[in-house]
Symmetry: C2
Subunit: 264 residues, 2 copies
């Protein structure tokens, strides 16, 4: 028995392609339909109300693609809109916050740092997820607003990025955390600069890998395994820069972005 | 005779508050209604099609406020959507590109640089406006995508900003231009860092001042002068950061952002 319906992936933009790449490595036989709401990105600087409104609209659109489950690749959406999405969708919804928190707890010795967008950090979602599993856990969070623009500029391990990382990540350096959650899909692209700023002894938790492992387990448990493979990449704005960044993130994939109109 | 209707100012976000500030200095007796489409910002990384769609929607909303003229404070919108806005509005529409180009030509000795968002630079609008007035003019343009996030981070004259400016503005340094148009409402906030990168002998043209002078002349010519003064600040998303940045840009104004819903 196979289930040929696609797995839907939703992101505010194209940073979630890091999650798509992780999913494809684990589940090469699945079909994926990816929606990046590039006409309204970024979500990470906007209020929770706006994020929920945009996310519910996008989920409705993806439900029309007959998805068998919805992966919310965007940390900002996962942090602010997961209950609303679970209510709006009939299929399982998997966000990145819970898998990231579980992975962090599996490796930490007790002091976890979280970095993300302003919206994700303001939501406190990672702290709640971590403390729900371990009330004793010590959590320090900080927003890093320039990391997404730096990643999108292609300055992944640029001297400027290293300097910004050193400034932002000062609260996590010199042993003040032993584990750091990269709470934004873009941040794994900056991994060398982040690692240099916090030191090699801090474990970096990439939510993309964590959510891919969770989805793999869910597909097996619910007998949702597909066959055939394939990817559709849908975006709501197709500026040339989106195409350029998508090719940076997915160097091994034939990138063909389809422009779609999200009913407003 | 006075015309009590407000002057409408439209921007993708709150960078256009630099234009509002310049307008208020010249026209203290006017009422202003400012709309920042903060739920969809930034426009500067999006395609011209999306920018036109959003701008026409916002202009329709402002027409409902009985504005006597519309100032488009956003360079990206001025560069891509001015004809569409002129068609959609019954009142005069003033963009920032033409006033900026005229001011640059008044001071240049022949070599003009233009910096702006990716969308503004890709549109080529400043080059067209400059060459329409002086076909012999030498124009060099470059997008500076990190300048808006740096300005919004509050790093106006920060060492990182100076370093990024030196990298971006290298094509304009050492006498290669004599005049540089700051083709984005945020850029005047970074003026010291920009001036340091290009050298003191390069004249910096601030579109905010140029458009304010143009609007002042238009109000006089068309006998649209108002009385009373006052400002309403409308935004489509009211994240805490928007409020914070608005207060940074308007330190002398009582900032009270009103959240409005732009009909989609």
């Amino acid at each position: 028995m196979t289930d040929a319906r696609p797995i839907a992936i939703f992101d505010s933009g194209i940073g979630g392609l890091t999650v798509l790449a992780a999913l494809r490595r684990r589940l090469p036989a699945e079909r994926f339909v990816y929606l990046g709401d590039t006409a309204r990105l970024p979500y990470g600087t906007k209020s929770a109300e706006t994020v929920v409104r945009y996310a519910v609209r996008a989920a409705g659109f993806l439900a029309g693609h007959d998805a068998k489950l919805l992966v919310v690749a965007c940390n900002t959406v996962s942090a602010s809109a997961l209950p609303a999405l679970e209510e709006a969708m009939e299929v399982p919804v998997v966000g990145v916050v819970a898998p990231g928190a579980r992975t962090a707890l599996a490796v930490t010795h007790g002091r976890v740092g979280v970095i993300g967008t302003e919206s994700t950090v303001a939501s406190g979602a990672y702290g709640r997820a971590l403390r729900a599993l371990d009330p004793e856990i010590d959590v320090v969070a900080r927003a890093c607003p320039l990391f997404v623009p730096l990643a999108e500029e292609g300055w992944w391990d640029h001297p400027v990025t290293r300097e910004v990382a050193a400034l932002y990540l000062e609260p996590f350096a010199r042993g003040r955390v032993d584990t750091l959650i990269l709470g934004c899909t873009h941040y794994p692209l900056l991994r060398p600069a982040i690692a240099a700023a916090v030191g090699d002894d801090v474990r970096l938790v990439d939510s993309a890998e964590a959510v891919a492992a969770e989805v793999e387990a869910l597909v097996a448990r619910r007998e949702l395994a597909g066959s055939g493979g394939g990817v559709r990449l849908l975006v709501t704005d197709a500026a040339a820069r989106i195409d350029r960044i998508a090719r940076l993130i997915l160097p091994d994939t034939a990138v063909n972005l389809e422009l779609v109109d999200l009913p407003d």
